[in-house]
Symmetry: C2
């Protein structure tokens, strides 16, 4: 029985179902779907929210965009807010609080019990882009002396609270992480099996300061659902779950794609005009600077252009094709770095491959343009100049496409950031220089 109902039907159900019907069905409706109804039917938001139990409200608040969470909460009285906050996990509340101003965040924190507040304050102290900023403090820890049956009985009491309790962590008396056991292992073993005998002592964990990109890479590499975060003495601090990691992967990818195109990582397609301008205009002005730089190279050779005006029409072909080849190299290298596929081991090989691609595409594209331009101008020397400039520019384009992101990475700047400005500056400046310089050298044969 698949619940295939439209937003409208779900709205009607949420508004008009009897209290009994609602109580019976509500746990089977996904909070994301309820949130979509609330977004679509703003006018019913208040009525619908007031009908929902606090644990569902906590999940809805969690699913909402961070910026809107506080707004959802404010539908409720202080006492009701306290109940909802009680149901939320520590990392969710941290996400909520982190986007609020000081007064608002104090307001939220004041509605939590002392222990939870302390936990959230600690989580807030970690950088949001690190393992510490991602983790939740709700996890289940066991002693190695427990049996499967004891564990199951314990879970019947404790599991509701814990974050996706598919992995349980074995700790010693001083809370040092000594093993991990999956819920699947537990249920696959007989009741009298000891945790000690099925726990994996090789727990892969990360320190709280680990960058979120590195966290995502470890999750992908090992196909993890969950990973513990530890302090310098291997005490378990919290856990990161795969659903958070999926969000990070999309976030990091958006960041790279945006930066390669010179827009800020936070810009949203449905954001405001002002936000878009703030995100893009600074980059456009940087590009304008580099465009004037390239333009000044052309200006230097204006004497040559005056004599052979056909050069002006071919000029953008040389620069543009270099830009394309450079962007191709740049992109494969930036992506290779992001995926961890470009390493110290293969760097030399990749460089020579990129350079080879530059030479060989330069030769093929160069031959074609030389032929076309030579025939059109009825002058083989004109063709030669065009072809040679194309070859040189494409070879240097791939070198720049490789070198710029690799150097940025070395100096700890995101390779996706500003790489394309540098590379197209190189290809424009060099393209114009090679072409017009060669034309000036061969000028007697071109007039």
């Amino acid at each position: 029985m698949k619940l295939e109902i439209s937003k409208e039907e779900l709205r009607n159900f949420l508004l008009h179902a009897t209290d009994e019907q609602l109580a019976e069905m509500i746990e089977f409706i996904h909070p994301v779907d309820i949130l979509e109804v609330i977004h679509e039917y703003k006018e019913d938001e208040d009525v619908i929210m007031k009908r929902l139990p606090s644990e569902i409200l906590a999940e809805i608040v969690d699913e909402e965009e961070d910026e809107e969470k506080y707004g959802l909460l404010s539908h409720f009285s202080d006492t009701e807010q306290m109940v909802i906050l009680e149901e939320m996990s520590s990392d969710e509340i941290t996400d909520l609080v982190s986007v609020l101003d000081e007064a608002e965040s104090e307001d939220v924190l004041s509605k939590m019990n002392v222990e939870d507040r302390q936990e959230v304050r600690e989580l807030l102290s970690y950088d949001a882009d690190t393992a510490g900023g991602l983790m939740a403090t709700e996890f289940i820890s066991l002693s190695q002396h427990m049996s499967v049956l004891q564990t199951l009985e314990y879970l019947q009491k404790a599991a509701q609270d814990a974050e996706m309790a598919y992995y349980l962590y074995v700790v010693d008396q001083s809370n040092v992480l000594t093993g991990v056991v999956s819920l699947r292992e537990i249920v696959a073993h007989s009741f009298d099996t000891l945790i000690r005998d099925i726990a994996n002592p090789n727990v892969i964990s990360v320190p709280a300061s680990t960058d979120q990109e590195e966290v995502a890479r470890i999750f992908s590499k090992y196909s993890f659902l969950m990973m513990p975060v530890v302090d310098e003495h291997d005490h378990i601090l919290g856990v990161i779950t795969v659903d958070d990691v999926m969000d990070i992967i999309e976030e990091e990818n958006t960041e790279d794609i945006h930066r390669l195109a010179q827009i800020n990582e936070e810009e949203k397609v449905d954001g405001s005009l002002i936000e878009s301008l703030k995100s893009r205009l600074p980059w456009l002005f940087i590009n304008l600077l580099t465009a004037f730089l390239a333009s000044s190279v052309v200006a230097v050779f204006s004497g040559t252009i005056e004599k052979v005006v056909a050069l002006a029409a071919v000029n953008p072909i040389i620069a543009g094709m270099g830009g394309n080849a450079g962007t191709q190299s740049l992109t494969i290298v930036v992506r290779g770095i992001a995926l961890g596929e470009l390493t110290g081991d293969n760097a030399r090989r990749v460089f020579f491959k990129e350079f080879g691609v530059g030479i060989l595409s330069g030769v093929s594209i160069g031959l074609v343009v030389a032929l076309i331009c030579g025939v059109m101008q009825q002058n083989p020397i004109f063709g030669l100049v065009v072809g040679l400039a194309m070859l040189l520019n494409m070879a240097f384009a791939t070198i720049a496409g490789y070198a710029v992101p690799v150097i940025l990475k070395k100096i700890n700047v995101d390779p996706a950031l500003a790489s394309s400005v540098f590379v197209t500056t190189v290809t424009d400046v060099l393209g114009f220089f090679f072409f017009l310089g060669l034309a000036t050298l061969f000028l007697p044969y071109l007039i």
Copy 2:
């Protein structure tokens, strides 16, 4: 006790540990780490592999790149291969077989038992980019009449075989999917609870033909760990797990990033020179065509350039800045479509926002270049022509940046594919046309 050992130490352990030590520890070493050792120390591959039990070998084969899996298997005798294949899950074997030629794949299939072979043949019939191509057929189904205790006892027998058995599916007598219950729910309830009472009847599932991008979107939206795949009558066919979805997300992102830069989605940073050329040269030739198109616009106005040679130096600024603005719009729109954030509902608003960005950046950038060029040429009309051309080109650039991917999407072409060729063609052709056209109109004032 965190196992922090280097590849070299792990290699030494795998080579020199006694059989007893190896048997005791091997299940706690992650197969990915063993695979890395085998890659690093090619010379020890055979010796190490021969020491490992078949279930570990099956996991190592699964972790290896699809193209290399068959090579790993071939270290073993036919009988040993049969045991390893027995340990592998249906989707893993399908991945393995799908990249082999006919003789090799028949060889692999012949080493499987009839039932498994039948399953793999069925999985191979689905398109690899769809839910059917992603799913595994190993899952656990329950009857709603079972109790928690009965389920736990059943899992102790069956769970080892099933794919990440964190969700169990409730089916009726005719195998129709009627509910889902998580392992966490099961262990959180008392032993006499009936599955019927804790199962969620609202199971979100997908048909086998669903595109993998859509599958990834549903996983992200609902934070799923697992999702069932059904036929048209709601019979459960298999399950997709979150680890496969993480791979898809990276794959789809790589595809978009590569296509935006005009390289093929399969190109690898550490691939061969020939592969890179195959991936990039066709795109470069397409760009060459469009570059000649833009160049011919310049050629049309060569009479104007002959008279005012300064135009040749400013020309690339106009086209280049349009290209930058167009790429910005294009990228935010392509990413918005990929993330499902650009919808029918906000399309109009996004279009006008992009157009507004084009106008406003055109005005600001246009003013600056008008001023600079006007002063440098000591001719306000020259500045006016430059500024006006810049404004027009940037406005049209953002329109093209919005329209091209949206139109490609409408005609069911990936918006990331070829979008940038179209957009830069528009900005080059229009940029040259606006600038040189205006210059021709105002020619008397420029000489």
